[in-house]
Amino acid sequence: MRHLSILGYYFAQYIKVRLAYPGDFLISVFTSLAGTVASFGFLYILFHRVSSLQGWAFEELLFIYGFNLVCLGLFNVLSMNLYEFGERYIMEGRFDQIMLRPLHSLFQVIFEAFRIESFQEFATGLVVVVYVWHKLDLPLTPLDLVLFLLRPLHSLFQVIFEAFRIESFQEFATGLVVVVYVWHKLDLPLTPLDLVLFLLMTACGVTIYLSVFVMLSTLSFWFEDRVGVSPPVYNMIAFGRYPVTIYNVFIQFLLSWIIPFAFASFYPTTYFLQRHEFSSFFALVPLVAATFVLLALLLWSRGVRGYQSTGS
C-alpha cells in the first residue's frame, strides 16, 4: 500500500522529466497518434474489400481491436523501462541504485519511466469499444456518436496537450464516467456485471502483457549481452488483435499457452460479443493472468539474487 501511495509521486516525477524537453514530448505524442490511426486505417481498408473474416464481422473485429488497444495502451504506458531493462539498468549499472532504496525493485524499474503518450491508445481503444458495443445493439444517431466520441477525446486532449497535470487524468476519468452514464441512460444493454467484467478483463490483459515482458527482462540478469527478444515478442501482440480461429493450430496454441496474448485480448472480448463457444477460455483469463504474474515475480526475484552489477 505504501508503494501505491508513492506511485503518484513517481509519475509526477517523470512528468517533470518529460516536461524538461517539451518538443520531444509533443513529437512522440504525435507519432503515437499517427500509429494508432494507421492501424485502424488498415482494418477499415481490409473490410472495404471483404465483408467478413472467417465469420467475424467488421464490428466484431473492431471490438477486439479496441479492447486490445485498451490493455495495450496501459501496458505501453508502463512498459517503457521493461523494454530497455537490460540496457539501462543492467549494462549501465543503474540497478545498483534500485537495490539501495526501500521499495520493491520491480516497482521502481517499472515506475521510473512512463510512455505517457500511450494513454492515447488506451483512450482510443475505449472509444472504439464503446462505439462497437453501441453499434451492435442499438442504432445510434450521428449526434449520439459525436457525443460519445468527443467526451473522452476532449479530456484526453487536456491530458496530453494542455496541462500534462495528473489532475487532468481525473477529468479524463470523469469523461469516461459520463460516457458510461449516458450509455446507461440511453438504456444500452450494459449490466453492472458487464462493467465489472470489462474492468477485470482490462486488468488481466495488462497483467499478462506486463508479466511476459518482465520475464523477458529478467533474462538480462543472466545474459550480459543485449538480448533482443523483446521487439519480436512485442510484434506478436498484433496477432492477438484478431480472432485466434483465423490462424493455424500451431499459432493458436502458441498464442494461448506459450505467450498467452490471446488471453489478453481475444478471449476476453468473446464474452461481450456473445460468442459463447469460447466461454471456457474466457473463464480462464484471470487464472492465466495470475499464473503468469506469479511466474514473472518468481523469476524476477531469482534474477535479483543472481545480479552481478558492473565494475567499480
Binding site: 545498483d96 539501495l100 567499480s312
Partner: protein
C-alpha cells in the same frame, strides 16, 4: 557491539572471455568460455558504531564488490554479513532505510530536473517528515552550501556541486551507516575539503558510522583513524594509520646541500651502519635511515654541526608510498 560484522565473506563471479574480431564475435555466440574470478576472498572485519573507516585498494582489488555486498546489492558467494541488525541482501527493505550510499561515479538524483525534486521524492520514499526534512536541509546547507543549487537541473551542476547534492541525498533520511564509494573522485581541492568537513561533522555530531573507499590517501589521513587495505580480494591490513606506518619499514631520508663542492667523509658523523649515506653530486648528499633507530633531530644536528651545509630537507615516508609498496608486493611484510 559491532555495528557491521563481516565474516569469511567471498564473492566469486563468472565471466566469459571474449574472442576478438568479427569472427571471434561469431564464435562467442556459440561457445562461451567461463572463467571464475574471485573478487573478494575470505574477508572478515567488524566496524563499531560511530567509527569512520577507510577502505583502500588498487583498481580491481575488490573494494566496490565489498561495498556492494555490504549495501545488499550483491549476494555473497559464501560467508556472512550482518549490519545494523540485518542481513543486507535478505532484509533489503528494512536495511536500506537505515543506510545511505554514495557512488562517486554515479548519481542517484534525477538527471533532467531540479535537485529539490529529487530530494522531495526521496523524502517520500523514506517517509521523512516535513520537519525532519527541513531540519536536515538546514544542516546540509550550513556545511555544503546547498541552497543555491536546489533549483538547478542536475545535469547542469559541476561535478563538485553534484557530489554535494548526492551526499545530502544520501543523508536525508538520517541513516545510521553511510557507505561512500570514492566520494572525492575527480574533485578539485576545494570541493574535496568541503566534503571532508561535511563527513567529519556528520560523523561527530550525528554519530553516523562511515565506511569509505578512496584512491586519495589524503582523504584517509584526514578522516579515518582506521584503515582496511584490500588487494586482489584479500584483506591485507586492518588497523590504525600509525600502526600501518609502524608495521612497515619506514625509511626516511634527508637531503642536504653543501656550501662548497667537495667530497664528504661520512665516517666522521659517527652513525656507522644505521644511516646510509650517499653523495649525489658535488654539492648534494643523501642520508637514508630508519626513524625507529635514529632520531631525525639527532641526525640533522650532527650534519649541521660537522659539515658546512646550506640547506637540509627531510622526507618522511608517506602513507601513499607504503600503500604503493603493498600493492606492488601484494602481501604484508611483517616488520
Amino acid at each position: 557491539m559491532a555495528l557491521i560484522e563481516v565474516s569469511k565473506v567471498s564473492k566469486r563471479f563468472k565471466t566469459y572471455d571474449r574472442k576478438e574480431g568479427v569472427w571471434g564475435g561469431i564464435q562467442n555466440l556459440f561457445r562461451r568460455n567461463p572463467r571464475e574470478v574471485r573478487a573478494v576472498d575470505d574477508v572478515s572485519f567488524t566496524v563499531d558504531a560511530g567509527e569512520m573507516v577507510g577502505y583502500i585498494g588498487a583498481n580491481g582489488a575488490g573494494k566496490s564488490t565489498t561495498i556492494k555486498m555490504l549495501t545488499g546489492i550483491l549476494v555473497p558467494s559464501s560467508g556472512s554479513i550482518r549490519a545494523n541488525g540485518y542481513v543486507p541482501y535478505r532484509d533489503r527493505h528494512q536495511y536500506t532505510r537505515g543506510i545511505g550510499v554514495v557512488f562517486g561515479q554515479r548519481t542517484q538524483l534525477w538527471w533532467d530536473i531540479a535537485v529539490v525534486e529529487s530530494f522531495q521524492l526521496l523524502k517520500r520514499i523514506y517517509d521523512v517528515s516535513d520537519r525532519d526534512f527541513e531540519e536536515q536541509l538546514e544542516i546540509f546547507d550550513a556545511v555544503l552550501n546547498l541552497k543555491p543549487l536546489l533549483y538547478t537541473p542536475v545535469r547542469k551542476l559541476s561535478l563538485g556541486e553534484r557530489m554535494r547534492c548526492d551526499l545530502a541525498a544520501a543523508f536525508l533520511h538520517r541513516p545510521r551507516i553511510v557507505f561512500l564509494d570514492e566520494p572525492t573522485i575527480g574533485l578539485d581541492v576545494v570541493a574535496k575539503e568541503n566534503i571532508r568537513q561535511f563527513l567529519k561533522r556528520i560523523n561527530a555530531e550525528l554519530q553516523v558510522t562511515v565506511v569509505l573507499t578512496t584512491h586519495d590517501l589524503s582523504d584517509i589521513e584526514e578522516l579515518c583513524r582506521r584503515v582496511l587495505i584490500i588487494d586482489r580480494g584479500h584483506l591485507l591490513f586492518d588497523g590504525s594509520l600509525e600502526g600501518l606506518r609502524e608495521r612497515f619499514e619506514c625509511k626516511s631520508q634527508i637531503v642536504f646541500e653543501l656550501r662548497e663542492p667537495g667530497q664528504v667523509d661520512f665516517g666522521r658523523l659517527g652513525f656507522n651502519s644505521s644511516v646510509e649515506f650517499q653523495q649525489l653530486d658535488a654539492l648534494r648528499c643523501q642520508a637514508v635511515f630508519d626513524k625507529k633507530q635514529v632520531a631525525s633531530a639527532e641526525l640533522i644536528k650532527s650534519i649541521v654541526n660537522s659539515l658546512a651545509v646550506r640547506d637540509v630537507t627531510l622526507d618522511d615516508t608517506t602513507i601513499e608510498e607504503i600503500v604503493r609498496e603493498i600493492y606492488s608486493r601484494g602481501e604484508v611484510v611483517p616488520s
